[in-house]
């Protein structure tokens, strides 16, 4: 049976201010499924993505997350990653002095060492071949490997670098947080093709987006709408199309009153 990510009644505050962001989120994503999480800006979508990976900027006040049978909230961010969870960040930070290649090799080696403490890690030639083939797939110039991570990258380059990491780390469940934002149509196509090439029975994807646009490339089976920290609508691809046509006003009207 494939791995599942089960989010149950999740409540989250901003750690520093105590401001409540998520107010009871329920969502289950299984390997092999493609989900879309939509919603107006500020509804809590990115917060959910960050909480799933354990960003210390947020504090979980109630609820539970089970990933592949394990209590996710008790795991450190690195353990979550090694367990097969991946987040393509909306705003990846730049890390001066750390090259893309060095970083990805360390990430792979950390996986190998976690499984076998005596592991010497991936041999350099094998890693170089792997990285080159993944970069080719994403139409990335090989010089990318030697650049400092996200330092001076354009918006599109950052997003491609995120998908490159996803392709290299081979997760069970991947969350794409607004990966389409700021991309021109060519970059969107390349990034989407990259994601699609990874799709299959072993990969579950949660596409977080404000717009329908990326869903034309990465077709979801399930669509969820988040508003004010809760998932308020669940449906199929038709729900995304409806939002594309009508916008989020009806969501606001329907659920604002319940506040």
């Amino acid at each position: 049976m494939g791995a599942a990510l089960e989010i149950r009644n999740l409540h989250v505050n901003v750690a520093e201010t105590g401001e409540s962001i998520l107010r009871g989120v329920d969502l289950t994503i299984k390997q092999g499924e493609i989900h879309a999480l939509m919603g107006p800006n500020g509804s809590g979508k990115s917060t959910l993505a960050n909480v799933l990976l354990g960003n210390p900027a947020y504090e979980v006040t109630a609820g539970q997350i089970i990933f592949d049978g394990k209590e996710l909230l008790e795991m450190e961010p690195d353990e979550r990653s090694r367990a097969g969870l991946f987040l393509a960040f909306q705003y990846p930070v730049s890390i001066p002095g750390v090259t893309v290649a060095n970083f990805l090799r360390q990430a792979l080696n950390a996986r190998m060492k976690a499984q076998d403490p005596g592991s010497k890690g991936i041999p350099v030639p094998q890693f170089a071949r792997l990285l080159r083939s993944k970069m080719d797939q994403l139409e990335m110039d090989h010089s990318f490997a030697g650049r400092y991570l996200n330092e001076g990258f354009s918006g599109g380059e950052k997003k491609r670098a995120e998908i490159l990491q996803m392709a290299t780390l081979d997760p069970k469940i991947a969350i794409l947080d607004e990966t389409d934002s700021g991309l021109d149509i060519d970059a969107l196509r390349i990034v989407s093709e990259g994601v699609n090439s990874l799709k299959g029975p072993d990969l579950g994807v949660l596409v977080i987006t404000h717009y329908q646009r990326i869903l034309n490339y990465i077709a979801p089976q399930f669509v969820h709408v988040m508003f004010r920290g809760r998932i308020v609508e669940n449906g199929g691809p038709e729900l995304a199309l409806k939002l594309e046509e009508t916008g989020y006003d009806w969501i606001r009207e329907k659920y604002e009153v319940t506040e």
Partner: protein, 445 residues
């Protein structure tokens, strides 16, 4: 000399006398001119008071914890040989061989190699004392006359009077030393050492030099009172790397100055890792039109270390450029201070000077200060400075962790990344790797 006692056994100044100077010079059978120059320096030393916290340059750096009664004992070679030197310091800089190698242990030259291809070009690479005999005119003309002067301060004067050992490199007109020169000054015993580096590049010549300072662990105090003189003639090109890793009971007081001629270039990298306290003056004199100097420095202070790096970029001619980037980290109770000054002489137009000091504080109890300064007396110039302070940011650490990298490694990567830009300026890959490892040691240790 009157030695003021603060408490029994605690001297406020080294206990040297003129007899020490005479004895040192006689022991090495030095030429008369050298003895005379030492005695002149002694007179200056004798006249000057010890620096005190009332002096502006010393206001933030209280070195008075030094026990001079231990630290002033001039180290004498006791037969320790090259085998006492850590393997890392002995490792060649590049695989293709070195132009010359000099290893000093306790001030004594214990290993000396000089490639015949270099000697054939008329390049001189000798220990300073031998050079003072064999090439008296050349040494006499340049030793503490043009760059570091005995009048620069108490410790510069003391150095002039009592320097114990040194290296002399001379590259004649139009010659390029294609292989690097490698000098190690290692002390196996505690006490005082006064090492000198004198590099003279004649017109349109070129060289790359790395000097490493280190010492064995000791329970008693040591003093290193050093001078570095880099003289780059018109059209010359010098790459100079100096790495310091004294033991934690050592106090360094050093004067380092470079003079750059017309259209000449200096690429000057320093690394400060060791010592209990370091007070270094690092000064760039851009003398010729079109002279360029790049000063790069990295430092990492931990435990109770105190580093005080005092830099100057002096634009003494038009169309000169200088670019300084120092990057440091401090943890535990360590303190660091960088004071930088860019100066231009009046009416030196079209100069371009930049200085930046970037600091990473790794504990709440460490303290880092950076004081940039500009004194510009011309109007058509481009000079700017920057000083930044940060801590280890959690956002990049989280990002790396979210890819499966455990926290300790993630933190290491971010801190090493901070230094990478500087370590990249070291022209030797192996040395860069060694320094990465020592940065790692400090982070983890």
């Amino acid at each position: 000399m009157v030695v003021v006692r603060r408490r029994p056994g605690a001297a406020v100044a080294p206990g040297y006398t003129q007899a020490n100077v005479e004895a040192l010079s006689a022991a090495h059978d030095e030429p008369q001119w050298l003895l005379e120059s030492r005695l002149m320096a002694w007179d200056i030393y004798d006249d000057l008071p010890m620096p005190s916290p009332q002096d502006e340059e010393w206001r933030r750096t209280d070195y008075r914890s030094i026990r001079w009664d231990e630290a002033d004992k001039l180290i004498e070679a006791n037969g320790a040989n090259v085998q006492t030197v850590p393997a890392a310091n002995l490792e060649p800089l590049v695989g293709s061989g070195e132009g010359g190698t000099m290893i000093f242990v306790d001030g004594k030259l214990v290993k000396y190699e000089f490639a015949p291809t270099m000697a054939d070009q008329g390049i001189i690479f000798q220990d300073l004392r031998t050079a003072a005999r064999d090439h008296a005119e050349l040494v006499r003309k340049n030793l503490m006359t043009r760059a570091v002067k005995t009048t620069d301060g108490k410790f510069a004067a003391l150095h002039g009077a009592l320097w114990t050992h040194g290296v002399f490199l001379y590259v004649p007109h139009g010659k390029a030393a294609e292989l690097p020169f490698h000098v190690v000054m290692y002390n196996s015993q505690p006490g005082a050492s006064l090492g000198h580096v004198l590099i003279v590049l004649d017109e349109a010549s070129q060289a790359t030099v790395q000097v490493e300072y280190a010492s064995a662990q000791a329970d008693t105090h040591s003093a290193y009172i050093g001078a570095t003189e880099l003289l780059v003639g018109d059209g010359g090109n010098l790459k100079y790397v100096a790495l310091q890793d004294w033991n934690r009971e050592s106090y360094e007081f050093s004067h380092q100055r470079a003079r750059i001629g017309r259209d000449a270039n200096l690429d000057w990298v320093i690394g400060v890792m060791g010592s209990r306290l370091t007070k270094a003056y690092l000064e760039l004199e851009l003398d010729g039109i079109g002279a360029n100097g790049r000063m790069s420095g990295f430092f990492f202070a931990d435990h109770n270390q105190m580093f005080d790096l005092d830099t100057q970029q002096n634009h003494n001619a038009a169309l000169t450029t200088s670019d300084l980037l120092y990057k440091g980290a401090a943890k535990d109770h360590a303190r660091t201070l960088w004071q930088g000054m860019i100066k231009s002489q009046p009416d030196m137009q079209k100069i371009d000077g930049f200085q930046a000091c970037r600091n990473m504080l790794l504990s709440d109890t460490a303290r880092m200060d950076a004081i940039p300064g500009l004194e510009i007396e011309a109007d058509d110039v481009r000079c700017s400075h920057a000083a930044t302070f940060g801590t280890l940011e959690q956002e990049p650490v989280f990002y790396l962790m979210s890819r499966g990298i455990p926290r300790p490694e993630a933190e290491l990567m971010v801190i090493e990344g901070f230094f990478d830009e500087l370590l990249d300026r070291i022209p030797f890959e192996r040395v860069k790797e060694r320094l990465q490892a020592s940065v790692e040691g400090k982070i983890v240790g």
